[in-house]
Amino acid sequence: MSPEVALPIFIPLLSGALSLLFWRLHTVQRFIAVVGTGSLLVTSLWLLSSVDEHGILVMQMGNWEAPFGISLVADLFATIMVILTGIIGFSVALYSLATTSRGHEAFGYFPLMHLLLAGVAGAFLTGDIFNLYVWFEVMLVASFALLILGSEKAQMEGAIKYVTLNLLSSVIFLTAVGLLYGLVGTLNMADIAQRLGQVEDNGMVDVLAVMFMVAFGIKAAAFPLFFWLPASYHTPPVAVSALFAGLLTKVGVYALFRIFTLIFTQSPGYTHEILLWGAGMTMLSGVLGATAQFEFRRILSFHIVSQIGYMILGLALYTPLAVLGGVFYILHHIIVKANLFLISGVVHRLCGSYELKRLGGLYRSHPWLAVLFLIPALSLAGMPPLSGFFAKFIVIRAGIEAEAYGVTLIALLVGLLTLYSMVKIWAEVFWKAPPEPDEDKPELASPGQRELWQMYLPIVGLALCTLFIGLNGQPIYALAESSAEQLLDPSRYIEAVMGDATKEAP
């Protein structure tokens, strides 16, 4: 029995519960925030080493054998995602120490953060389709609550859209799960895959595949289902934005990867073709959306959408290299995008705005911040030798190899427009002379040394990750390659989960 499979869920759950239990004691909450997310990170690394050593790890929750109970499954892909959850969680927790107001803390900021991480980790690790729904909801409601923390007008308006569209997605998901259960009589994903493997050419399977695609497409913010994201991601406190930007949509992408490599692999010519179109349109419309924006976080939000397109592209092409590229892209993007949001928060702390036209002069006054911005920004745009370059390179190479020239062309063009956006931010926020001071706006108190350190530390850490992946890509590449191998050979997953039950036909 290897507890590290379940610990990434239970540690944040316990941290959240404890944090809520001590909701009046701010120091304790802060302590739990750091220790909890830190141990999540450590555990996830432990999980990686175990998975690396023993292959796919499975825990049958409650000791009920699969497919009857709920299985937690840690294959390499899930493990990578959990590690990223740990990294982002820990970074955001550190950052939050400096940026979270007393009011936010008093109203559950830290418990919500822990539980959001628990939901995310649960979604990554579960091997049960209904349990996936449950973790989606945990994550979603935690994000609802984080989104409205502060009760500002924009938050309310954003939250209504966010809540409505995400609930619609949940209901579509739930509907699909209900129908799927009706059709195959099981919920364990490995079991579903195994049973569907015995079915010849059933149209209903494709119908369900498409339903799941739409449900997860909404969660992943794919075209044309992404509306909730740009409407809301710029409204909450920035640490929350970073957490969302890093993790939430990627859970949708993860789910797409999971079901379209494990369960719905019968007619890739149909399903993955739809994904391919979606990927292309997602890239394009996301980046065009960003081009029209002049607010730091809105630009970043639209870029989440366009980057999601690249990840889905990896899945849609469905070749070993492409899936590898998708995994690599997710890995790179989570770090980079969260970091960009964190940086936007520092900028806001220093200048008091997210509007590009009200910002400027930071290159002169905060050169290190400028450097720290350039690393993730250029990485996002796919500039070498940063992580994003390799991510984009693999996907594009896979696209050319798979002879999907149209979508590859889009991918290239979108890269250029991404660069345009990042450079726009750079020129406006850092290069441009600072704007005339606003009479009405009160002078900002300059942040204290300790506060700055708490903000910079995670940013530097994430930037180092980006640099590391870029300069020493081989280990990460190898990791992504192995995980893609696992993804494309579902029998390994099925065997790990079902054990002996694999052989006996239901």
Partner: protein
């Protein structure tokens, strides 16, 4: 070798620290790196000229066939030498030019990084690594061009150069990947040897176009030439560096490097020679329009780049030698000229040639350097530029195709170049003395070192060209793909090329004499220039912004209704199509109903519909309540007592919550038009129909027995509970329940935060402590 380049990047990163340690002298300290590199490269000369190719292997991401392998052949060595030698001068020069500038340290960071990127670019053997350095030069040059970052023009120019070169870079990437896949090698050497395979492949033309997209943008070929003069916003040392030895030559380098692999075809020759020639003439012509010394020099660079491309296109052995010669000559004189331009700018406070005159007395050394370098630019005997021009004209005259056309263009370019050279060399220093914003005097020594040495080299190599012939031959051999011999000499006797040179000298001087008239004649053509490719660039950028704004307005328009409709249409469209196309509507009806069940189901539906059509909120809530009770009844009827209880409790509490909330909300308003209602009815109705069909299909097509038989059998023996549902909830699927209660708790936290946060913020107090809350 790799260590040197990577170390250079590290050095760049440490530039601020060096500045702290060495102060103003940091630039000199950093110049030691390119200086030692130059020295090292210099010592490799014998081996390379002997035809050896030095390879330095180093793996990077082997999984992706990416290695950091460096390769030193004639071409690389020529470029590497230019880069590091001129780099030394530029670093030294900077010390004087940017003396006391607050951003000097950052400048050094980027400049050294740029230098190393260029070196990496010309040394890389792996196509991906080449591309990595290629993009690095784009980024670093962006940062350099925008060095005066508070100036909007500088930012604009920097952005322009970045977008064009990075855009070309992406095209290049696609081309390189296709090439690598077809040639089945990621090494440039490997690809060169696979030239025939690539040339015969069906994808040759796309590859070529992609690669040319990269090379032409980078090296400012027509119609992408406009970014380069705009890049003059950079500080002069940068211009000197960018335009003489480096950035713009990257594209040329790439073409030269790929010549053995991609070159030699009809398409290659046609495209390169024509675009090159047009660029050459365009550059030379536009140069004469400008009075700013930097613009003038920049356009003449465009002309030189066009020439180089044209030579590659011609592709004869002669042309290869001419290519290498012209390349070296251009680097030497253009470097010197830009540095001179910087001195003039620095010492007089203006860049406008028309505003200068008679400076030779105040700055004799500068004037001499300028004269030598400009004469070399004009291709005047006995300077190295003359040899370059002669060999170029030779090559053009002996071109295999388009020879007359190319010759004519080359001649006119030579004429105008000579005029430009004369303007640069004579205008500021001779004639009547004019007042300049600053009182002119000779530049400081660190600024003069570069021009003196570069101009000196132009002169030296002109007089003794055999000094360079080894290197030139080696470079030309690399371009050619197989060894060739080159003997450079100043005097080839009287031949057609010399005649053309003489013609160009005379006509060029004429233009110089009547330069003012020339500009006046051309003035009516201004609107035409305004409609040049640069206008196209701005149009394109505007178009993107327009499209993006249009798209945002169409998609992300803020109306949640539209978002929902769109999402649902996608759902219904995709799912419905899949259902009809891949499954079909096949199911049996077997109605086995009891009258009271029908009534309860009917009431449930009526409750829902009533809730929809009720104009009164609370009445709608009550209708929802009846629907809930009916659902509870349905649950009970179909054997789910737990569900029944839960449903009715939830319904009751929901009603309470709704009533508490509605207390604060206004009544329903009727806001939609009837057209909207019809549309919504269609969307809603089709979704409902789809769901019904899906359920019917699933009910009819169950494929496997449920896993719940196991649960029914084992819930008591294993789970010790008689209520199987509860055993599932708290034991078999306890993880679901665990998540579920966390959802509930989270919702409560959210509700609490929403309702209380504002007030506590307003009162600026923390939520009640334990003691307070006990007392209420």
């Amino acid at each position: 070798m790799q260590l040197a380049v990577l170390g250079g990047f590290v050095l760049a990163a440490f530039a601020p620290l060096l500045h702290r340690w060495f102060g103003e002298r940091a630039g000199l300290v950093m110049a030691l790196l390119p200086a030692s590199l130059s020295l090292w490269l210099f010592f490799q000369l014998p081996a390379v000229t002997a035809g050896e190719v030095l390879v330095f292997e180093y793996p990077w991401v082997p999984g992706l066939d990416i290695s950091l392998t460096f390769l030193l052949d004639g071409l690389s060595l020529l470029f590497a030498l230019m880069i590091s030698v001129i780099g030394v001068f530029v670093l030294i020069y900077t010390r004087g030019y940017l003396k006391g500038h607050p951003d000097l340290a950052r400048f050094h960071v980027v400049l050294v990084a740029f230098m190393m990127s260029m070196l990496g670019l010309v040394l890389a053997d792996n196509v991906v690594t080449l591309f990595v350095f290629w993009e690095l030069t784009s980024i670093t040059s962006y940062l350099l061009i925008g060095f005066n970052h508070t100036d909007p023009e500088a930012r604009k120019s920097a952005l322009q150069s970045l977008l064009i070169t990075a855009g070309g870079g992406l095209s290049l990437l696609a081309g390189l990947i296709m090439m690598a896949l077809i040639g089945d090698s990621w090494s440039l050497q490997g690809l060169t040897s696979q030239g025939d395979v690539i040339r015969e492949h069906g994808f040759y033309l796309p590859i070529l176009l992609c690669v040319l997209g990269g090379a032409f943008t980078k090296s400012a070929q027509f119609p992408f030439h406009f970014w380069l003069p705009n890049a003059m916003a950079a500080p002069t040392p940068v211009s000197a560096y960018l335009h003489s030895a480096t950035m713009v030559k990257a594209g040329i380098y790439l073409l030269a490097r790929l010549q053995p692999g991609l070159g030699g075809t009809e398409a290659w020759m046609t495209l390169l020679s024509l675009f090159g020639a047009v660029t050459m003439v365009t550059g030379a012509f536009l140069a004469l329009r400008h009075t700013s010394i930097k613009s003038l020099l920049a356009y003449s660079t465009v002309m030189a780049l066009g020439t180089l491309t044209m030579l590659l296109g011609i592709g004869t052995k002669e042309a290869m030698v001419a290519f290498a010669t012209f390349l070296l000559a251009h680097s030497l004189y253009k470097g010197a000229l830009f540095l001179v331009a910087g001195i003039l700018d620095h010492e007089t406070g203006t860049k406008d040639i028309a505003a200068m005159g008679g400076l030779r007395r105040a700055m004799p050394v500068t004037a001499t350097c300028a004269g030598i370098a400009a004469l070399s630019l004009g291709g005047v005997i006995p300077l190295f530029g003359f040899i370059g021009k002669e060999s170029m004209l030779e090559a053009v005259l002996h071109a295999e195709r388009f020879s007359p056309f190319l010759s004519a263009l080359s001649l006119s370019a030579a004429i105008m170049t000579l005029a430009a050279a004369a303007i640069v060399a004579l205008r500021p220093f001779f004639g009547t003395r004019r007042e300049t914003p600053r009182a002119p005097h000779e530049g400081p020594p660190e600024m003069l070192v570069g021009p003196i040495l570069l101009a000196g080299l132009s002169l030296l190599l002109g007089v003794a060209p055999e000094l360079a012939s080894g290197l030139i031959a080696a470079a030309a051999s690399s371009v050619n793909g197989e060894p060739l011999h080159a003997s450079l000499s100043l005097w080839h006797g009287i031949n057609p090329a010399l005649m053309l040179s003489l013609v160009s000298l005379v006509l060029g001087l004429l233009i110089f004499r009547y330069w003012g008239h020339w500009r006046a004649w051309l003035r009516p053509l201004e609107p035409l220039f305004a409609r040049g490719p640069e206008a196209g660039y701005f149009k394109f950028m505007d178009l993107i912004v327009t499209v993006s704004i249009w798209q945002t307005r169409m998609l992300q328009n803020g109306y949640i209704r539209n978002y929902l409709v769109m999402t649902l249409l996608v759902l219904v469209g995709l799912t419905g199509y899949t259902l009809l196309a891949r499954q079909g509507l096949t199911f049996d009806f077997a109605l086995d109903v009891h009258i009271h069940e029908v009534l309860v189901v009917g009431l449930m539906v009526s409750g829902a519909i009533t809730a929809c059509i009720m104009r009164l909120r609370l009445a709608a809530v009550a209708a929802v309540g009846t629907m809930g009770f009916c659902i509870a009844l349905i649950f009970v009827t179909f054997s789910a007592p737990d569900l029944g209880i839960t449903q009715l409790l939830v319904e009751t509490l929901t009603v309470i919550l709704l009533v508490l909330v509605l207390f604060r909300l206004p009544r329903f308003a009727s806001l939609s038009t009837s057209l909207e209602r019809v549309r919504d009815l269609v969307v809603a109705g089709s979704t409902g129909l789809l769901v019904t069909l899906l359920i019917l299909t699933v009910l009819d097509g169950r494929l496997f027995p449920s896993i719940s038989d196991y649960m029914i059998a084992n819930s008591q023996p294993e789970g010790h509970g008689h209520n199987i549902v509860n055993v599932i909830l708290v034991d078999i699927r306890a993880l679901d329940t665990l998540g579920e209660v966390f959802v509930l708790a989270l919702a409560a936290i959210g509700v609490y935060a929403m309702l209380r946060f504002h007030s506590s913020e307003h009162d600026d107090r923390h939520p009640p402590s334990r003691k307070e809350s006990r007392n209420g």
